[in-house]
Symmetry: C2
Subunit: 355 residues, 2 copies
DNA sequence: CGAATCTATGTAAACGTTTTCAGTAACCGT
DNA sequence: ACGGTTACTGAAAACGTTTACATAGATTCG
């Protein structure tokens, strides 16, 4: 069927070794023969067989990405970041989404073995021992947004959820809010847990006693935020003056609930989210949030795993934490920033301060 | 390094052929030896080398997905749909995003050759001849949301943009609107073009003379919709009573612009979008839109390419068009539907009618 | 000027599988 | 008892590359 290196060699009247040499630019080869081979390659439309190459070089030039069931923009942004970094060095991306639930995690890993040179694993829900048991240690692995464990044999890259949340609470407090509610993320999720921790610690640091009844369960989705918003709107006593949702999707749901209940933002409640999704500029009012650069997160993870591959997995393991940025818009009543055109390339919107 | 089939064979005191047989469940093998081999495989932690396997079977068990630069939820939904379908038969996904711009399209295809058994290509911007020139015909290829060409040697799956838009216009007209503005998508995009065509044809069919000045340029992003909304809010004469944006992101931007200009929806303008993104339920007011099941689109594409692989690319080429559904919410003032909890698994929100 | 180094090429062994072919032993029907 | 299946297993040839080694001529060097 397809044309092999032998066909090229025969047509160009050289040995396969020489063809291989010009293909990989290795070893000396006469300029005239190089040109001859080059042209036969093109005229024959020859493309090297990846599998054969991988077999002998023990390199697939592919890195695997394992994702849980992710909805929304996070997914696309992350892949965009990874793909850009990886493409620069001629690597490919083997993606497997929804490795969540059932014990199929191990199966997925097994299926990836021998197909990838490195792995990026996103598993905010999986516990360390589970990961440890099912991830092969023979290739470089970077864990993204995963439970931090000092003894982890893997590289680790996380978003600075803790400081992001802490900063947001401090910001709300600086605007005069004393009673700040929190809409939590899904409970096994490590991002959710860290944001909650930042919220609680900030309250403590500010000398505000934390009351359990100003925390509301959530699920990172709009409907979860809507439910919390309904409950808050109906509170008769001890109602908060500010609401901090663990992500923007819930903040938007919350906003809808408050509006439906006839309450307004920021007049009746200050409202803030987390993630700074693009649509946050266009809500009414525009949403104060914590900016996270997902694409950058993906890019760093990719760079890290590529580095590990280059050093044949003998590199020093690192734990990286990507900073977040406070983005102040109108939903907290503090900064009547005009709605600006959005530049998606750098994501700079609203007024930003270092977190 | 890694343990090979030979190690297994030696340890289990059989030939590699026998090991291979139990691994693939082919050919007869004594129950006792099967068990012995099975257990050695596990104790040695043996995993077959994918490349070696591909080399001889000429199968990679992988399908490639080529995407342009896509933002937002579309990407994740599509991949989710494809991945689910593909995983069912034990296939993998090689993803390459942003094969847009420069002439690197050919390079991407070349890099994929030999690594995948089939291809799903999403290229709403690429012209047919370009695609034709750079896509290999040796493996099954499914074009998604691509320019339709009756003579295309590839399978084709599209969303029924035309009828979706047509139906929406008819709906707006049935509510009494005579002057319906349209916010266009980016011009080379085939989805944008089809939606525009549906809009124009519907106007014609309804006997409404189309005026050029009720069409506004857009880009499928929020800011584009915002710009259009500003212009509409400032129109002194001949202002439309209804606005139909070519996608939800622009509708939301438009909504923000109108609100900023002190105009309200649906009182001053009826507003409708296209895509039915989840957040549309939580805007104020909830957004009337055209529902498209992206995950289903991805699933169909995957099934189609898998079918092609099974038949070794000798299958009959098909052109599929996935139906859309009108989802009526409050942004057009017609249906004061209560905000409902959203079930993300089937995406049924609001009131739906067949398109 | 012989030895050593370099340049350009070819030969052939590996990489880890699957699969064809062949072989042995047991069984079946006549 | 014997040819013909059948059940099981092994030997070895592929698959398409890369690369260590070999070779042969040209150049350099002491």
């Amino acid at each position: 069927m397809s044309v092999t290196i032998k066909d090229v060699a025969r047509t160009a009247r050289v040995s396969v070794a020489t063809v291989s040499r010009v293909l990989n630019g290795k070893g000396p080869v006469l300029e005239t023969t190089r040109a001859r081979i080059q042209s036969t390659v093109e005229s024959l439309g020859y493309v090297p067989h990846g599998a054969a190459r991988s077999l002998i070089t023990r390199r697939t030039n592919t890195i695997g990405v394992l994702l849980p069931d992710i909805y929304g923009e996070f997914f696309s942004e992350l892949i965009r970041g990874i793909d850009a970094a990886v493409r620069r060095v001629g690597f490919h991306l083997l993606v497997s989404s929804s490795h969540g639930e059932r014990g199929e995690t191990g199966a997925v890993f097994r299926a990836m073995r021998g197909r990838v040179d490195g792995l990026i694993v996103l598993s905010p829900d999986l516990s360390v021992p589970v990961l440890r048991a099912s991830i092969p240690e023979s290739i470089p692995v970077v864990l993204v947004n995963s439970p931090s464990d000092a003894t982890s044999p893997f590289d680790l890259i996380n978003i600075d959820n803790y400081n992001g949340a802490f900063t947001m609470v401090r910001h709300l407090h600086s605007l005069g809010h004393q009673r700040i509610a929190f809409v939590r993320g899904p409970s096994p999720n490590v991002d959710a847990a860290e944001r909650l921790r930042g919220y609680r610690e900030a309250l403590r640091a500010l000398g505000i006693a934390p009351f359990d009844d100003v925390e509301f369960p959530g699920n990172f989705r709009e409907d979860g935020g809507y439910g919390a918003g309904q409950r808050i709107a109906n509170m008769s006593s001890g109602a908060p003056t500010a609401i901090f949702a663990a992500n923007d999707a819930m903040a938007i749901g919350c906003l809808a609930a408050l509006r439906d209940a006839g309450r307004s933002v920021p007049e009746d409640f200050a409202l803030a989210g987390f993630d700074d999704i693009p649509i946050g500029i266009f809500t009414a009012p525009p949403l104060t949030s914590v900016h996270v650069s997902i694409a950058e997160l993906g890019g760093s993870a990719a760079d890290r795993v590529l580095h590990g591959i280059r050093l044949e997995n003998a590199h020093k393991r690192m734990h990286l934490t990507l900073p977040t940025t406070l983005v102040v818009r109108e939903s907290c009543g503090s900064a009547p920033t005009p709605r600006e055109n959005r530049d998606p390339s750098n994501g700079i919107n609203g007024r930003r301060r270092d977190a």
